[in-house]
Symmetry: C2
Subunit: 171 residues, 2 copies
């Protein structure tokens, strides 16, 4: 059974985080999440992702909710297991088999500092390596591992563009 | 044999790309590349990465070279196989076994539009999924696949900080 995945982006700051959060949204969409929850309402971001959906298909959603705890609790109440991605977590190599058995996964990715409650209240703190790098990279590798690389082959419904066709056209 | 990896970041723009390129550098470092080549000299970037090296160890290098062709040719002359990561490339799932046999790999990641010569002159154009997402994510997943997830467990020499020790301290 393919797990249902929602991403919770902690601490998005308008303007400053625009590009990094856009990458987070695109990665969540491309690697198989159904939606991303963001704390600051950001119309530019919404438009960019809607444009991508229109061209490239699918129904990936952005939800704005200022209070991360509210989203957190809602996910918990709906049966989601919460995975916080952090370099201070347990290694993904150790936990990936276990996590693959979950049916619903809520993934928290931080931007800057994450308050201690996120560590304490998440079901798992998981590290994608214990070096500092990027929440975008952590999310991508986690989802790639979770879906065993298969999500990359998925077709998005209602796409106007299709990179595999462009590729064939180019040859 | 562990392949030797160099990343070539195509089209870094000062200020505008600062954060995204920083993520690219950190991912290259954390996931096992030995250096990254960047086209625009950027002192802030250099400082950020040197600070990370000092704290977290290792000898990851940033090299500035304005002309990507020069870097490209140098890599080719030194026996590197060039892999351009692009959503219009051949699927990673098809090529990863083959790529793992290479001894030296130069990875090109773009920012905005990449000129046709990059597609034409690279040995491989490889897609990490055929949806638009992020060069940071593409680089991370490619390196994770290349090293079979093992690079994430590597210890960096001469580190002042160690996330696994902090983790143990926290418990």
């Amino acid at each position: 059974m393919r797990p249902e995945v929602v991403v919770l982006r902690y601490g998005h700051r308008l303007v400053r985080d625009a590009r990094v959060t856009t990458h987070c949204c695109l990665v969540a969409r491309a690697f198989g999440a159904k939606e991303i929850i963001i704390n600051s309402e950001d119309k530019g971001l919404l438009q960019r992702i809607e444009t991508v959906n229109k061209k490239w298909g699918g129904k990936f959603k952005i939800i704005f909710e200022p209070d991360w705890r509210k989203s957190f609790k809602k996910l918990k109440n709906n049966g989601f297991t919460i995975v916080h991605l952090t370099m201070y977590g347990e290694p993904i190599n150790k936990l990936e088999e276990k996590i693959r058995k979950e049916k619903k996964i809520g993934i928290i990715i931080g931007s800057q500092k994450v308050e201690p409650a996120v560590y304490e209240e998440s079901d798992y703190n998981i590290s994608i390596g214990s070096q500092p790098h990027s929440e975008i990279a952590a999310l991508a590798v986690f989802l790639d591992r979770l879906f065993n690389g298969k999500e990359l082959e998925k077709k998005f419904p209602n796409a106007k563009l299709d990179a595999t066709k462009v590729r064939k056209g180019k040859k």
